[in-house]
């Protein structure tokens, strides 16, 4: 006879979905990044990354400097908001990298041992769903959301306003416009019950670069870079999930004053763990390293990443306030 509306479970469902908001754009994004959520939601991500390799980890052109060694400690902070466009789910986000980078390399007959810090180039991102469930405009739709086969269109634009010194090999900013067009894919495998969700996710993308006409006094140009990120994700518990991550990059040949380098051909593998801390917080931690880096000219990458996202939605927050939380 008891009549219960189970509002607590409704709240939890809505917020769980909402916490899949962006965590990073210029770096490789974690799995489950493009799950949809209740439109009108907001998120502030903070991403901490510890990176090393033989290319500037902040430069998605991944310009390889053989025999070099770079290390970077970077934090990304930003803001994202979801909304509806043509009845499809859409998202805009802005992220700003800050941190420090250091390393040593030889280039143009010069030896560089440098370090720098400060603000990097901000990223502006727009994502709209093309195939899959319509925009989630209310909690009932959020409750019923299942991605099935979902495909988005993504556009990133990185604005060259970060700190840049044309006399330095290493910089936080890249001194050129660049961006990418991508098609995030989420493919649901099996049921969509929290604790048992499984997905196969892909992020094919093409990066496009303007020239950096003042790279140590030289002109740096980069061909389009192709990238496919793949994730097999699985819930271990309704609040804990993991993924196996594979990242391939190809193309993206860089040229210095017209002298061509090599195309990239990198395969990286890694893993991610995600934990739903509470109705507002989502935590992920992961590691990814290149495995196709035997040759000194091969791209070497090594990334530890921890992200914390605070997400909220006015409706859900209002319900929580009424609930005395």
């Amino acid at each position: 006879m008891k009549f219960s509306l189970s509002m607590q479970s409704i709240l939890a469902m809505a917020v769980i979905l909402m916490l899949a908001l962006p965590q990073s754009v210029s770096a490789q994004v974690p799995a489950r990044f493009y799950w949809k959520n209740l439109v009108g939601g907001n998120a502030v991500p903070v991403v901490y990354m510890d990176m090393s390799g033989n290319a500037n980890p902040l430069d998605p052109a991944q310009f390889v400097v053989p025999e070099s060694s770079f290390e970077a400690t970077v934090a990304l902070g930003g803001y994202a908001k979801t909304f509806t466009l043509f009845d499809r789910s859409a998202l805009v986000a802005a992220l700003l990298p800050v941190g420090r980078i250091s390393g040593g390399a030889s280039l143009f007959g010069r030896d560089f041992t440098e370090s720098t810090n400060g603000f990097g180039d901000p990223t502006l991102e727009f994502v709209i769903n093309v195939l899959g469930p319509p925009a989630i405009k209310n909690i009932p739709q959020a409750m019923r959301y299942e991605p099935g086969f979902s495909l988005d269109l993504l556009v990133d634009l990185i604005v060259p306003v970060g700190e840049y010194d044309d006399d330095q090999l290493l910089n936080m900013g890249q001194n050129r416009w660049y961006g990418r067009v991508a098609a995030p894919i989420v493919w649901q495998i099996g049921s969509w019950v929290p604790g048992r969700r499984t997905t196969l996710e892909f992020l094919p993308s093409v990066w496009l670069f303007d020239d950096n006409d003042d790279f140590l006094g030289h002109n740096l140009s980069t061909d389009p870079k192709f990238q496919v990120e793949a994730h097999l994700t699985r819930d271990f518990h309704k609040d804990l999930w993991g993924s196996i991550d594979v990242n391939w990059m190809g193309g993206g040949k860089s040229s210095l004053d017209g002298i061509d380098g090599d195309d990239l051909d990198m395969v990286g593998v890694g893993f991610t763990l995600g934990y739903h801390v509470n109705e507002n917080f989502q935590l992920t931690a992961g590691y990814l390293a290149s495995v196709s880096d035997d040759d000194p000219t091969d791209l070497q990458v090594d990334v530890f990443k921890v992200s914390l996202v605070f997400g909220w939605h006015p409706l859900v927050e209002g319900m929580k306030r009424l609930g005395g939380e």
């Binding site: 006879m1 008891k2 009932p140 969509w192």
Partner: protein, 592 residues
């Protein structure tokens, strides 16, 4: 339940039939009973439901629908009467075994199982030359001498419990954690591979019929579906047929079903809906999220009914394929009103109890995305039970019309009425025994193994089905019920009712069902003479049928659990029902 006028007593000349099967040169019809567990009066399309039930509706279209068919208010009492033709208080189900009261313990008629004082319908049909098959829920006893094989079913695949998991042997209660099944008189240690209750019951019944096909004996097939009883377990493809359709809430569906019932001729024009029970919210005042959560429960229920309909269709198609359909009588009905009580909460809702622990381990698949899967336990609650029982008041367990009135379809060679016709005769589950004995040409004996049998008190429907009569009961005949301490009696259009508070008043109430089938207007104060006359019949019923009012009841503390009962005046209070005032556009201006 008992008729005191013209009791159905067959002459005892056929007592010998108990000891010898009769060899018929047989063109007697086969008999199929489709019993749906907790299905509501208004769920089938042919009774006004929006649920897609093409196979059941096809039977209705070829047969006749009865609008005033009564069962008991819960399952095992109904089944006991159907299979024995004898009142519950005599046949062992004076109370459900789960709720036997202290003052009923040890009293004959209250054993909690179908007792040995009665002979069963399948026993008589078997000895009359019928094959007798049963699949599905039994709920009338578990001991070796109480199981279907011992009570007359030649073949069976039976769930002996009252309900449980549809996929495996898990039960809900901690001290009876394992469901008990029998097959052909043997207890099962495990279920067949790929078991799903509704499908397997159908498969088994087809197997039973197929095994004896060709020996020219007719069969009695009792398909006692577990569906759509909670928990609502069903394959995924059946869970997602009505996504979002029920989000608009129960009131809309009650109105729509009533309108369709009036269009179909199931319900008289001018009939009012019963009150929305006072503790059920007005769905228009609910936010979309809780409406959706509650709507999802009804989506599952609709899927349960549709899945059952699908499997009924498989059985029908099989009978057509073997050429037996045209010579088969179908009876389709539910066993009581739709279930509005939260059974899971009642059993497992108290932290710290064994049942709570059992539920935490086996029944905690609670995410709405998992509803319908094994380990989930979803019932649809009182708001949707009222929809299922449109236009009536209340639901299973109670003796308002919503607890005991059921949709009945009868089709087959005994039906001489126009295809798809509707009849309003007052009928009862107790009639099934004499009706089917008539169909089989078999008599009800006076004695069994030297003991005198209680008389069966129902009325054969054959004249009614043939179109030779429009009713089977006179104005003096009456029906009576008692269960859990609730009491009711119907004579003609009048119904006397006593129910526990707050569903009842704790006193006798009087309703005229001809003008008020929804039992909105208690006329007890206006017609005290009628109350007094019907109470005399009630006392007669009690005396003749061994009725012992229980000293304890499932409903004894309900008044303290529920909010105070108030009328369901539409639009009250205006505080939350008023709509935004919109001034005339020409009088609107911006402030200067």
């Amino acid at each position: 339940m008992q008729w005191i006028k013209l009791p159905y007593r067959r002459a005892g000349i056929m007592a010998l039939m108990l000891s010898a099967s009769i060899a018929w040169a047989d063109d007697r019809p086969n008999i199929v009973i489709i019993l749906a567990d907790d299905m509501g009066y208004a769920d089938m399309g042919s009774f006004g439901g929006e649920i897609d039930t093409p196979n059941l509706d096809a039977l209705a279209a070829e047969g006749v629908r009865f609008t005033q068919f009564y069962t008991h208010a819960s399952c095992s009492p109904t089944r006991s009467v159907m299979l024995s033709g004898v009142d519950t208080h005599l046949n062992g189900l004076g109370n459900m075994s789960e709720w036997t009261a202290p003052n009923q313990k040890g009293v004959p008629g209250y054993e909690g199982y179908l007792n040995d004082s009665v002979v069963t319908l399948p026993q008589l049909l078997l000895r009359g030359g019928y094959h007798t098959y049963m699949t599905g829920k039994w709920h009338l006893g578990k001991a070796p001498d109480k199981i279907p094989r011992a009570r007359g079913f030649e073949r069976d695949f039976s769930l002996l419990d009252g309900g449980g998991n549809y996929w495996d042997m898990k039960n809900v209660t901690a001290l009876t954690p394992r469901l008990v099944f029998t097959e052909d008189g043997q207890y099962l240690s495990e279920l067949p591979e790929g078991y799903y209750a509704t499908r397997t019951y159908t498969d088994k019944m087809i197997d039973f019929i197929e095994a004896n096909r060709g020996d020219d004996n007719p069969f009695f097939a009792y398909v006692a579906h577990q569906a759509p009883h909670d928990p609502y377990h069903l394959p995924k493809e059946w869970r997602e047929r009505h996504v979002g359709e029920y989000d608009k809430g129960w009131d809309s569906f009650r109105r729509e079903r009533l309108n369709r019932q009036i269009e179909l001729g199931i319900t008289k024009k001018g009939t009012a809906l019963a009150e929305r029970m006072w503790f059920i919210p007005d769905p228009t005042q609910l936010a979309p999220a809780p409406r959706a959560v509650l709507g999802m429960k009804m989506e599952l229920y609709a899927g349960m009914v549709e899945n059952m309909d699908h499997h009924v269709g498989r059985l029908v198609n099989y009978l057509k394929s073997i050429g037996e359909y045209d010579n088969t009588i179908f009876l389709v009905f539910g066993d009581n009103g739709a279930e509005g009580t939260d059974l899971f909460e009642m059993i497992a809702g108290t932290p710290g109890t064994l049942n709570y622990l059992n539920a935490a381990i086996n029944w905690s698949n609670t995410d709405p995305k998992a509803w319908g899967e094994p380990g989930s336990f979803i019932g649809y609650g009182p708001m949707w039970a009222q929809v299922s029982m449109t236009p009536f008041s209340q639901y299973k367990g109670w003796l308002a019309e919503g607890g005991i009135r059921n949709a009945l379809i009868v089709s087959g060679p005994v039906v001489g009425r126009p295809d798809g016709s509707i009849n309003d005769a007052v009928m009862h589950i107790v009639d099934i025994m004499p009706t089917l004995l008539d169909v089989a040409g078999t008599e009800y004996p006076t004695h069994l193994n030297g003991s005198e049998l209680p008389p069966i008190t129902g009325k054969s429907w054959l004249p009614l089905l043939a179109g030779e009569a429009d009713t089977i009961r006179s104005g003096q005949d009456y029906l009576a019920w008692e269960l859990f301490g609730n009491r009711a009696l119907r004579q003609g259009d009048w119904k006397l009712r006593w129910q526990w508070k707050p569903f009842g008043t704790g006193d006798w109430e009087l309703y005229n069902l001809a003008t008020d089938p929804s039992e909105r207007s208690n006329l007890a104060d206006q017609a005290p003479d009628k109350v007094a006359a019907l109470r005399i019949l009630w006392e007669q019923y009690v005396a003749e049928n061994n009725v012992i009012i229980p000293s304890r009841s499932i409903f004894e503390t309900l008044e303290k659990q529920l909010p105070k009962r108030v009328p369901d005046d539409p639009g009250y209070p205006p505080l939350i029902n008023k709509r935004q005032f919109v001034p005339p556009p020409e009088m609107v201006k911006e402030s200067t």
